[in-house]
Symmetry: C2
Subunit: 151 residues, 2 copies
DNA sequence: TCTTGACCTAAAGTTAGGTTTAGAAATTAC
DNA sequence: GTAATTTCTAAACCTAACTTTAGGTCAAGA
């Protein structure tokens, strides 16, 4: 049971609090890449605990798994990430978070304008600005119209 | 074509930018309640344009449809909502938005701590605090563990 | 009148992010 | 050496928020 044998998926699950099924799913989404032991079972590096922690944090911040994959691609592929490496992609994460906060703050200010006039009439009302991609689900156009003067 | 005949679903779709299918879906979710004309087609009040605009704004703010239904229940059922009525539920919305912004801001500050030490080690790292229900998807426990000293 | 376009319902399909299930093989524990 | 865990894959299932499809009806205009 040498250290070099790596962690089993169950051990990794216990260390991260994720379900085993979620870890396999993340692998399918390209977020983590274990190797296999002679019997075909997945084996993980200790650094993968940190990697999954990062995934969970980024999810809290509202990033999608493809976005997280992109951020993680900032880590070196050929060696175990150093604290500096983590620091670097964390800054990337922070920048995205800042943008989300700005967007929400702007939305709030716009809403305040609407509360002020009590009418919810647009185009003051936020949705005209198209930047909050994180919230955009489904498809099709999403614009907003008020009870404009002319029908 | 008297005013009292109301808007067809297509007209409402054009006025709000929503798809016809989405409007029917919102009805199924209890967000809007049209009446029917003699031929069985849906007819809407002009005030419903505003109602759907509100739904769209609330979605931008990250509320789920059940949550939006709850907020909308603050509107009077027996008469057309007045500007004051809208103002009142908009304040409700603003309060929820404020909370989301606060949560994200706190998460950002926590992340800053992690960037500072470069290690992403917990429990500093945000996910321990369980309040951002809006982001919680899926199920199962989600806690976070670092590369703690003892295995 | 007749024909087009809008509308109807019900059911199935879609995406994200997973979980559950089934049946088989590998590992670990005794 | 055998029993109990874990793990494996593949496929089906789940929720939210819709869209699409299929087959039929209603309404408006020339």
């Amino acid at each position: 049971m040498a250290v070099s044998e790596g962690l089993s998926i169950g051990a990794l699950a216990r260390r991260t609090g994720l379900a085993v099924s979620a870890i396999r799913y993340y692998e399918a989404q390209g977020l983590i890449s274990p190797w296999r032991n002679p019997g075909g079972q997945r084996r993980y590096q200790r650094a993968d605990i940190r990697r999954l922690s990062f995934v969970m944090i980024a999810q809290q911040f509202g990033l999608t798994l493809p976005e997280i994959r992109t951020v993680l691609s900032g880590l070196p592929g050929n060696r175990t990430p150093t604290p500096q490496d983590w620091k670097s992609i964390s800054k990337d994460l922070r920048a995205r978070l800042d943008q989300r906060i700005d967007t929400l703050t702007r939305l709030r200010d716009d809403l305040d304008g609407c509360i002020g006039c009590g009418c919810l009439s647009l185009p003051k009302c936020a949705l005209y600005n198209p930047d909050d991609r994180a919230q955009a689900r489904g498809s099709g156009p999403r614009y907003l119209m008020g009870d404009a003067p002319e029908g």
